[in-house]
Amino acid sequence: MAKVLEGLYYSESHEFVRVDGDYGFVGITDYAQNALGNVVYVDMPEVDDEVAAGEEFGAVESVKAASDLISPVSGTVVEINEALEDTPELINQDAFENWIIKVELSDKADLDNLMDAKAYAAFCEK
């Protein structure tokens, strides 16, 4: 059973956002890592890149397939999780702990379009 954490925001393409003040930590959910299987590469943007809600900002590669990362929020990338460059499998170990990018949010209204934990858990059940 996939883990869903309270207090995060979730997208239909299985990314999460953990909001901390003006910043959002974006990653893929436990459900997504489970569906992908062994993650072998994370294609990340660079610091200072702009990301837009609903648009692709990178990809997660498993042995099986490449899966696009769709940003749930808009803003500027202020940090990438460099640990994933050498150990992408951290995402399999704990997807929520191992966020992919930290974004300075340009429009917090983006969050209104995302699901809370309860809605996302129900979404995954479908």
Binding site: G37, N38, Y41, D43, V63, K64, A66, P88
Partner: protein, 339 residues
């Protein structure tokens, strides 16, 4: 056959290190018998079955006149004037039609047996022992690419055991009734000594040792010469369909060649991605993975022959980025066959 059971990496390692079993009942089987069976098989097949001993298996292709590939297949010589063909599942209808069409003028009987047979592939260094101890089937007398008939309750379709596979490891394939195959599968899984394996690791295993997959490395547009499989094309045979075109291509050198490419990064080059030299497209990736056994991002790619020399630096476009790499041998892991 599902993509995976316990996970691609887990199943892949089981086959490399111990034993795994694949239910490959989807494969197609065709029986060719009759006075002209040998000359007919040689007419449609690139390898040479003339005078090979009973119990011998050859790999090769059926080609079109232009050298493009109808399918790649195994031919089992059961007895004099008696050949058993194993063809790819996705090509069964096309192959069966092709085999019938080409047989005009040959005194042969053709029987399509795909629905009569199930098939298991038991693969890995422990496969001989596991098969003996769990199924009571002794394969120790078989060498690589040979087979024998099995004595089972039903002799139709003829039950066969061959020392073959598609993983680069030692292993066996059993052809028998679907009922018998299901029983063997259940026993092997229940024993706990053989992991159930899916299509996912079937592809990663065959890819690592450089074995082609029809549709990726061979097709109506990719000849065996382009794919570097000329050793299975016997141009010294009197005739076979596609001989003239393949002989010409071999003499002139093909415009494109299948190569291996290793990337200097972890990004994965996948089927259809464009290979570049100095920013210009020179070909496409046919299959690519981050290899499980060697932890490298590698692919097979069909590229312009002038760039096919080992160590040539090339790039691959992966999504928005371009990754650098170089041409390498298209075998990324050594085979461990029991000769």
């Amino acid at each position: 056959m599902p993509i995976q059971y316990s996970g691609i990496v887990d199943e892949h390692q089981a086959v490399r290190q111990a034993c795994g079993v694949f239910d490959v009942s989807h494969m197609g089987e065709v029986l060719i018998t009759g006075p002209d069976a040998e000359s007919y098989v040689n007419h449609i097949f690139t390898n040479n079955v003339k005078d090979i001993p009973d119990g011998k298996i050859l790999y090769g292709m059926m080609c079109y006149e232009d050298g493009g590939v109808v399918d790649d297949l195994l031919v089992y010589k059961v007895a004099d004037k008696h050949f058993f063909l194993v063809i790819n599942a996705a090509n069964i209808d096309k192959d069966w039609a092709w085999i019938q069409e080409q047989s005009k003028g040959y005194d042969v009987a053709l029987e399509h047996q795909s629905n009569l047979y199930g098939e298991l592939a038991i693969q890995g260094p422990d496969s001989e022992r596991v098969m003996k101890e769990i199924l009571g089937i002794d394969g120790s007398d078989l060498t690589f690419y040979t087979f024998k008939t099995l004595s089972l309750l039903t002799s139709h379709p003829l039950p066969l055991l061959s020392r073959t596979g598609y993983t680069g490891e030692d292993g066996f394939e059993i052809y028998a009734t679907p009922n018998y195959i299901n029983e063997c599968w259940d026993k092997l899984i229940a024993s706990g000594r053989c992991k159930p394996c899916g299509l996912g690791c079937r592809d990663t295993l065959r890819f690592e040792v450089g074995l082609p997959l029809y549709g990726d490395e061979l097709s109506a547009d990719i000849t065996p010469i382009m794919a570097g499989l000329g050793v299975f094309v016997k141009l010294d045979k009197e005739e076979f369909i596609g001989k003239d075109a393949l002989a010409r291509q071999k003499a002139e050198g093909p415009a494109k060649k299948l190569v291996g490419i290793e990337l200097n990064d972890k990004a994965i080059p996948r089927h259809g991605y464009v290979v570049l030299k100095d920013g210009q497209p020179i070909g496409e990736v046919t299959t690519g993975y981050h290899t499980i056994s060697t932890d490298k991002s590698v692919c097979m790619a069909l590229i312009d022959s002038q760039y096919a020399t080992l160590d040539t630096e090339v790039d691959i476009q992966i999504r928005k980025k371009v990754f650098s790499g170089k041409v390498v041998k298209k075998q990324f892991y050594n085979k461990n066959y029991k000769k």
